[in-house]
Amino acid sequence: MPYEAEISRANPTCFLFLIDQSGSMADSFGDAEDARSKAQALADDVNKLLQNLCIRCARAEGVRDYFNVGVIGFGGNGVGPVFGGVLAGRDLVPISEVANSPARIEERTKKSDDGAGGLVSQAVKFPIWFDPVAVNGTPMCQALAYATKVLRTFVSDHPACFPPVVMHLTDGEATDGDPTENMKEITSVASADGNVLLFNVHISSRKDKPIAFPEVLGQLSVDQYARLMFEAASELTPRMRDVAVEHGFQLGTGAKAYTFNADNVLVIQALDIGTRPSDLR
């Protein structure tokens, strides 16, 4: 059965984030209570996720290398890894190095329940590995081709790994061609345990109701671009569907790793579902 490989230090897997850095990412999600641009919100979400991955891998003796992680940006400035600080220029980085090399650590304020019906503010450390960028142009095909190359190297070095998970986060259409073939190619990369899992997380500034992990496209099938992204996305594995249930989704067996018009909450849920694929050993 595919997607059952254990994730261990001897057999790590990899998470690759492809982040849209096009000009439209400067707009907000359209949430009246959150003025952040989509670029800023996504950078916060992925920095927070990297932080959580480090915490999940932390043990008394240090951070265990269960994962290699990369963040590839694509926008008007081109395609390439976006880590800052000493990790700049690196495509995939073992999680222990990620943990020990944030570009900087900010102090942010977290509001939490004070146990008496109110909220209490608490200063928390917020490590930053990369900053938001929004410059016109969406070279999605190039980004997928770049990522395919990175993943081919990873699976050749880790042939029995749990298949790499690609979280492709975008708010628009490719400006460098039709990405259909690039998406087929990236999901054709495989380890002995299965093919690369591609999440197509389409985000939006529109207030339309988000569509999360559909089994069929339904009314969206008239939208050629939505159809392309839906068809190219992988099916969620049983374990990912279990995590989705924790988030309150009721999904059938054919649910796709695809969202349409995602708001920031759904982005965070998709990131969590995609990055808890198996037990750590």
């Binding site: 261990s8 001897a10 915490i55 999940r56 932390a58 043990r59 943990a99 037990d279 750590l280 050993r281």
Partner: protein, 258 residues
């Protein structure tokens, strides 16, 4: 009454022995009756779960009365834990390795572990010996008599294992529902009975064997035979290679009643 116990364990394949996160303990007070035994399984994704599992089994075995109140037991364990944790933090400080930002949330969240405890009482005159067990989570007890499984507790089938067993936390405030989640069983024992206390991977393997028709066990078969640690590690390796046993920390506390 003589209860001979032997603890056998193997860490996950690929891990170092000091990364083993289960724990087991036989009676540390040298009491004749009642005797106590416990196993615990530290949750891999929590920080310092191995030391917390060790704290839980020793707290169970040292609990002042046989009338165990699980919330009070968790409190006693927490008191022991505070001392251990303070010493650990001081050691890290002395070694020039202060707590890193990625350890802070795990330390705040606390360590988590299952606990399975067994108390065995000497028979009163003219009566039969009795036992009582307490479980939080999916570590399991099996009572064997003449090669047959007499009792399994707390899970009743291999389908009952999932990824979210009940756990005891090292943060005192996070154990408010323990009284509801603890499961208790009681029974009788006879001379020659064996109690096998196992953490989940081995317990599941054993249940699957029983469910698939292996209903009579010989005393020279693992896990009924108290083999030595090296032989047990070889046996665990062979079951892992045969894909019968999940790659997890494995613990077997083998108790023979005489």
């Amino acid at each position: 009454m003589k209860a001979t116990s032997k603890a056998l364990w193997v860490q996950k394949n690929g891990n170092a022995p000091d990364e083993y996160e289960d724990a087991s303990s036989g009676d540390t007070l040298g009491r004749q009756s009642p005797r106590r035994f416990a196993v615990a399984d530290g949750a891999t994704e929590s920080l310092l779960s191995g030391p917390w599992a060790r704290t839980l089994v020793s707290s169970f075995c040292e609990y002042p009365t046989a009338n165990i109140r699980v919330e009070h037991l968790a409190y006693c364990a927490w008191q022991q834990w505070k001392e251990w944790r303070d010493e650990y933090l001081a050691q890290r400080h002395r070694a020039g390795k202060p707590i890193a930002w990625y350890e802070e949330p795990g330390l705040r969240a606390g360590a988590y572990a299952t606990l399975l405890g067994l108390i065995v009482r000497r028979p009163r005159q003219g009566q039969i010996g009795r036992w009582k067990a307490f479980a939080i989570g999916d570590s399991c007890l099996f009572q064997m008599r003449e090669g047959l499984l007499v009792v399994q507790f707390p899970l009743q089938s291999s389908a009952g294992f999932d990824n979210s067993p009940s756990l005891i936390c090292s943060v005192a405030g996070r154990n408010e529902t323990l009284q509801k989640t603890v499961q208790v069983a009681e029974g009788e024992w006879r001379i020659g009975d064996r109690f096998l206390l196992m953490t989940d991977a081995l317990a599941k393997w054993f249940m699957v064997q029983n469910e698939s028709g292996h209903s009579h066990w010989e005393n020279d078969e693992v896990p009924l035979r108290a083999i030595d640690q090296g032989e047990f590690a070889e046996w665990v390796d062979s079951r892992r290679e045969a894909d019968e046993l999940r790659n997890d920390d494995v613990t077997l506390l083998h108790i023979e009643m005489a």
